[in-house]
């Protein structure tokens, strides 16, 4: 979990259009890079991982306000290009079920696709010398951290959500509080307190989500390693 399923109608039109354009460009690259025979052979795996991602998202994690998504695991199994396609397929289906929206498929796919690509790169390239399960744990954690940070930044910039905690309205005027310079007593207005508290809560939820997903991927990889280790290796490693 690192992403919010952005619904329709909440982010400015320019941003979701940009999301679609960027996703389209990435998809074109993905389709070109994935060679015909590899694509045909890996299409069933792509579809299987898409189905698994959909199923896994429905598994409740007790009181935790998020779910697993297996995006990094998808990247590990099918590669970065087809992994992006798998994420697109999942987001199309999720948009019909209230998890995301039709206009935000592009931006939702970019955010999750980033996890797939980062996860694949970290697992197969940067950490290639490590043991499989430690690779999975680290790759998942880092990929989710990076993609979550970028996602939150993008959402914050596009909607000004980040701005909530740092300013308040006095009538028609915006008043920005410089919380670094002010005395603790002066700056303890309701808006500032709320802002710091809400950002802290978001950071805590994200960190928990990243940890849970990384641990889950680690355990799953440990299992698959015993049963079908060839699924976790690239063809060049076999």
């Amino acid at each position: 979990m690192s992403h919010i399923h952005l619904p329709d109608g909440v982010i400015p039109t320019g941003w979701w259009l940009l999301g679609y354009i960027a996703a389209f460009v990435w998809l074109s690259l993905a389709l070109r890079h994935a060679e015909a025979e590899t694509t045909r052979r890996k299409l069933p795996f792509l579809a299987a991982m898409s189905a698994l991602m959909l199923l896994t998202m429905s598994i409740p994690l007790g009181p935790l306000p998020f779910h697993l998504n297996l995006a990094v695991l998808t990247g590990i199994v099918v590669g970065p290009w087809l992994g992006f396609v798998a994420v697109l397929v999942v987001n199309i289906m999720l948009s019909f079920l209230g998890h995301g929206g039709l206009t935000t498929i592009g931006i939702n796919t970019l955010i999750t696709g980033l996890e797939v690509v980062l996860g694949w790169w970290l697992y197969h390239r940067l950490l290639g010398a490590w043991r499989l399960n430690w690779r999975a744990l680290t790759a998942t954690g880092l990929a989710l951290l990076l993609s979550s940070t970028l996602a939150m930044s993008a959402i914050g910039l596009s909607t000004g959500v980040l701005d909530v905690g740092w300013h308040e309205h006095e009538g028609e005027q915006h008043v920005h509080h410089d919380i670094t310079a002010a005395q603790p007593g002066d700056a303890a207005t309701g808006a500032n307190f709320l802002g710091l508290g809400s950002m802290g809560a978001v950071a805590l939820i994200l960190a928990t989500g990243v940890a849970v997903e990384a641990l889950a991927t680690w355990v799953i990889i440990s299992y698959v390693q015993k049963v079908r280790p060839e699924l976790l290796l690239e063809e060049s490693d076999l």
Partner: protein, 236 residues
């Protein structure tokens, strides 16, 4: 959510409402008109009218009321964005949530009144062959795997995998089950691929034979809908 997808799929193929009878392409076009209206809505009044219109469609088509619960997820996810509008006005914040809920309800109505072969078949005209085939494959595998996961969870529960005494052990058991499911699903997909290779499949998108049907009345309906949505936005 996976069970909801199964339930929605069943409603789409088994019920017969006026929404089900409307051909897929005109229905998709009508949905796009409504979606544009929802996104363009700039205040709570416009958003609320469109939401009421959709609820009216849900009730008049005699679709299950629980479909509305699919529209509640976006309400949760739109809260951060609504908070950003709270400093402007309370109505603006509620309008954000209203728009998100309306858009989700619209798509829920679409998918609950259109069997997936027709829906994906219509979408396949605009998607690359690989994506449209992946959509069909993934949807089919989802239902094959759904049965497996239900049986697996039952088996685990019967064998005491989810006891309250050892939380860590239970989590490990559940994740191993997920690993098993992953391996099993990949094996199934390989067997599917074997069978389809035998039948000549080459990832060139020839899984569906859905035809596009347009009638004169569909044009009239779409124009009426566009005028209605335009009227709501203009007068609201």
């Amino acid at each position: 959510m996976s069970l909801k997808l199964a339930q929605v799929d069943y409603i789409a193929v088994s019920q017969r409402s006026f929404l089900h009878m409307w051909p897929t392409m005109p229905k998709l076009s009508g949905s796009m008109i409504l979606l544009v209206g929802i996104i363009a809505a700039s205040n709570l009044r416009q958003g609320a009218v469109l939401l009421c219109l959709l609820i009216g469609l849900l009730l008049s088509a005699r679709l299950p009321v629980w479909l509305f619960s699919l529209a509640l997820y976006p309400a949760f996810f739109s809260i951060p964005f609504a908070l950003a509008q709270l400093s402007t006005s309370c109505a603006a914040a509620i309008a954000v949530i209203c728009k998100a809920v309306s858009a989700a309800l619209l798509l829920a109505l679409l998918v609950a009144s259109t069997p997936y072969p027709q829906l994906f078949g219509a979408m396949a005209r605009a998607l690359p062959p690989l994506i449209s085939d992946a959509l069909f494959f993934a949807y089919r595998l989802f239902f094959i795997t759904l049965g497996s996961i239900q049986r697996l969870l039952l088996s685990l529960r019967q064998r005491g995998a989810f006891g309250r005494r050892n939380f860590v052990w239970s989590c490990r058991a559940a994740l191993h089950a997920l690993g098993y499911l992953m391996v099993n699903t990949l094996s199934i997909s390989q067997r599917l691929d074997q069978n389809y290779r035998l039948r000549g499949y080459g990832a060139k998108g020839c899984l569906t034979t859905e035809k596009v049907a347009w009638r004169a009345i569909d044009g009239v309906l779409l124009v009426t809908l566009a005028v209605l949505v335009g009227g709501v936005l203009w007068l609201g």
